[in-house]
Amino acid sequence: MTATQARSAGASRDDALVTVTGLRVDAGPDRLVHPLDLTIRAGERVGLIGESGSGKTLTALSLIGLLPDELRHGGTVALRDSSDDLLNAPERELCGLRGRRISMVFQEPMTALNPLMQVGKQVSEVLTQHRTLPNRREVRERVLGLLESVRLPDPERLLRAYPHQLSGGQRQRIMLAMAFANDPDLLICDEPTTALDVTVQRQVLDLLDEAVRSRGTSLLFVSHDLAVVARTCDRVLVMQHGRVVESGSVTDVLTAPRHDYTKQLLAASRLEPTAGGARRGAGSPPETGSGAGAGAPTGSEGPAGTERPAGAAELSEAAEPLIRVSGLHRTHRSRRRTVHALKNVDLQVRAGDRIGIVGESGSGKTTLLKILAGLDRPTSGSVSVCGVDVARASKRSMRRLREQLQTVFQDPMGSLDPRMTVREIVEEPLIGHSGARSGRERRELTARSLESVGIPASAAERYPHQFSGGQRQRISIARALVTDPDVLVADEPVSALDVSVQAQVLALLNRLVDERGLTLLMVSHDLAVVRHLCDRIVVMRHGEVVEAGPAERVYGAPEDDYTRALLEATPSLDRVLAEKPSRGGTGDRPPQP
């Protein structure tokens, strides 16, 4: 049966493949999933959207009987022709269904594969487990066919490869091959592309799309990314705090959301370039390399310019870039091989610039930031920040530099010491610096910095674990701003946060950069985030700068092929919705649960 046939027949309720009625999950007194009804018809592709803690993963797990034992559950999950109650089915029965009628693809392909087992064996295990094929030769051929169907190059060789020898995208393809090994009726994907780079994400999604459509497999796709869900699914459920707050066809829900939370999510995932970017775009000179003749960029800065500390103003009046990187190389040598983390990087940043550095994992963007912050040393080339030659700086000038250049890190869990109070964390950059400050002075500066990021000073004696992810990132920003720096360096500052929180933190960063007239250097893999905040973009790949220029130019008319590929691969909700035929119409929308 093809997908279209399945869908046209889908008008009747009888062909429901999976019927979930009143599913609920409790952990002790806390209800993690509130009673939930869900029907997945044959060939239907259903998206489950929600932020971390919304119960979407638990819902998905309950469909395959993988809920953790310590959680209590209620309601029923029925699978057509197999079981009326998957939730309470004996383990033996479930084992017969998993991998045969229902399969699952997890988020992290590295941990979902056994690291000590050749991938060919892992794929064939799924086949032999259910005794679907009689002999070894047929199994081998089937595995080869599967690997080919997920477009893995050289399947013969890959059969004997171990997971660590494959890239993230290849590993996820293997997972897909395993999932499709027995032609399941239902495929559950839990954030299958979140751990992948955008260009790889696109390939994997294309593959998934094709496989699901050609086989008529039903799909439950769990994700926090609206654009990804929109391009993959027909129908979508939005979850918040364990409740389904809205459901309906993708086009309906995402173009005319009814619930506030959906609206909020939509707004958060549609990041527009900020006023700051537009303002700078009007006044600043267009090219980066020819920046020498560009007079005083601070002059066109409006109110923020007047508040700048005297030192920084002098710098820019001398038409001297605040940060000048030329011919920068960074190589890591180990006994076996040499890795070029950075190759011949040139970069000039003037005071007040907002630079976004974009690239996929391994492009060297974080290494570049570390070198600028004096946390890593260049192999060759010159790097000068605020007039300090980072490669040859004395301890003292390095210390002065670090007071002017502060960093915000990616992971708000890892970047705050769990054993320190918030006050101790935020005041740390003030300790042992020039012009030793008294305890009271430090306390005041800390309180002021915390308040500027929206954390009440009364919370200063609490520990990081008592705060949410977004609050923790605010604390991290407060720490960076406590020395009143000129340059703020941010390494993926929002990539570990939920979309709605992302928007808040980005707005905060935008406001602070504006108010304090900071020079911003931000690294991100997310082009929308960078575009939102930055007015100049640097695109990096394999340790090299492939393109640099004003944001509008790079996004509007990219010159480099890689930039183009990156832009194209980035899922955009508007583009997806525009391309989506409005199939089904409004009549398709099932009643709200």
Binding site: F106, Q406, P418
Partner: protein
């Protein structure tokens, strides 16, 4: 896999449980850990009581009562000089705890900083410290203690120092492993980005974050130290007579094994109980504190 997913979905109860300290820690101890705690507390109480009161003077010999079994006057019997076994056992707990405390303190004070140093300063310092620790671990701890006893003369102190030094490498290893983990976190990068001197990073960031590991190691080492002290005293290289000691009680009872087995049974039981208590406590603490097992229950 499903476990971590559920923990992440379960919200704040999962991965970022507050670091346990104080009363909360007590409540989270598994049952076996609580049993261990009770045993350890019992031994401490007995040792404290023996400072002010024992049924009889543990050193007073009463020849006419020698080698008596359990009687109303002497619940655990008397030894070959007619001394009350219960009283010696109670007083012996002092030595046992003293040896444990001092040996663990020596091991922790020597081993932990070296381990932190090795973890923070990669390169030759690390090489030197880890190889040195490996070399010390290659010798049986008891052999080191016997050598120390032979050189410094048999005394409680020489036993404590020898046991402490022999246990040092264990602390160094644990501290180094913990330090390596801590050093890879972003907050260390942030501290270095704030130009914090290495000593301050070690003191303010590394030590508090590996403290749990050190505590676990200490409770396990304590058990080993008790055992080592008993062994040394048994060999005559530990606590010299007439100071009461469990190990020497065993040695003294050996000759009368056939006639008066209670002379070896009671101190043997006491040693076993103490070792078991500290091991159970250590395992319980590990369950609660160790990040690797944390959140798995």
């Amino acid at each position: 896999m499903s476990g971590t997913n559920a923990a992440a979905a379960g919200g704040p109860a999962g991965p970022d449980r507050p670091p346990a300290r104080g009363v909360g820690l007590l409540r989270m101890l598994p049952v076996t850990g609580k049993i261990g705690l009770v045993v350890v507390a019992g031994i401490v109480v007995v040792a404290l009581v023996s400072l002010v009161w024992t049924p009889y003077d543990p050193l007073q010999a009463v020849p006419e009562d020698r080698l008596s079994g359990s009687t109303l006057q002497h619940p655990l019997g008397t030894d070959r000089y007619g001394r009350d076994v219960l009283s010696i056992l109670m007083a012996g707990a002092q030595i046992t705890l003293l040896v444990g405390c001092v040996a663990v303190a020596i091991a922790a004070v020597v081993g932990t900083p070296l381990g932190i140093l090795a973890g923070m300063r990669r390169g030759w310092a690390e090489e030197l410290i880890t190889r040195g620790a490996d070399m010390m671990l290659a010798f049986p701890a008891l052999l080191l203690a016997i050598m120390a006893g032979a050189v410094m003369g048999a005394s409680t102190w020489s036993a404590m120092i020898a046991i402490g030094l022999a246990a040092g490498p264990g602390f160094a290893r644990v501290a180094r492993a913990g330090t390596l983990r801590v050093m890879s976190s972003d907050f260390i990068l942030a501290a270095r980005g704030a130009s914090q001197p290495e000593t301050r990073i070690a003191r303010r960031h590394v030590l508090p974050n590996i403290f749990d590991l050190v505590v676990i190691q200490a409770s396990v080492t304590f058990a080993l130290a008790i055992l080592a002290e008993a062994a040394l005293s048994f060999l005559g290289l530990g606590t010299p007579p007439p100071e009461p000691s469990w190990g020497r009680m065993l040695q003294g009872g050996q000759d009368y094994l056939a006639v008066a087995p209670h002379l070896t049974v009671w101190p043997g039981l006491a040693i076993a109980l103490a070792v078991l208590g500290f091991n159970l406590l250590g395992d319980g603490l590990r369950d609660v504190l160790d990040p690797k097992t944390r959140g798995r229950r």
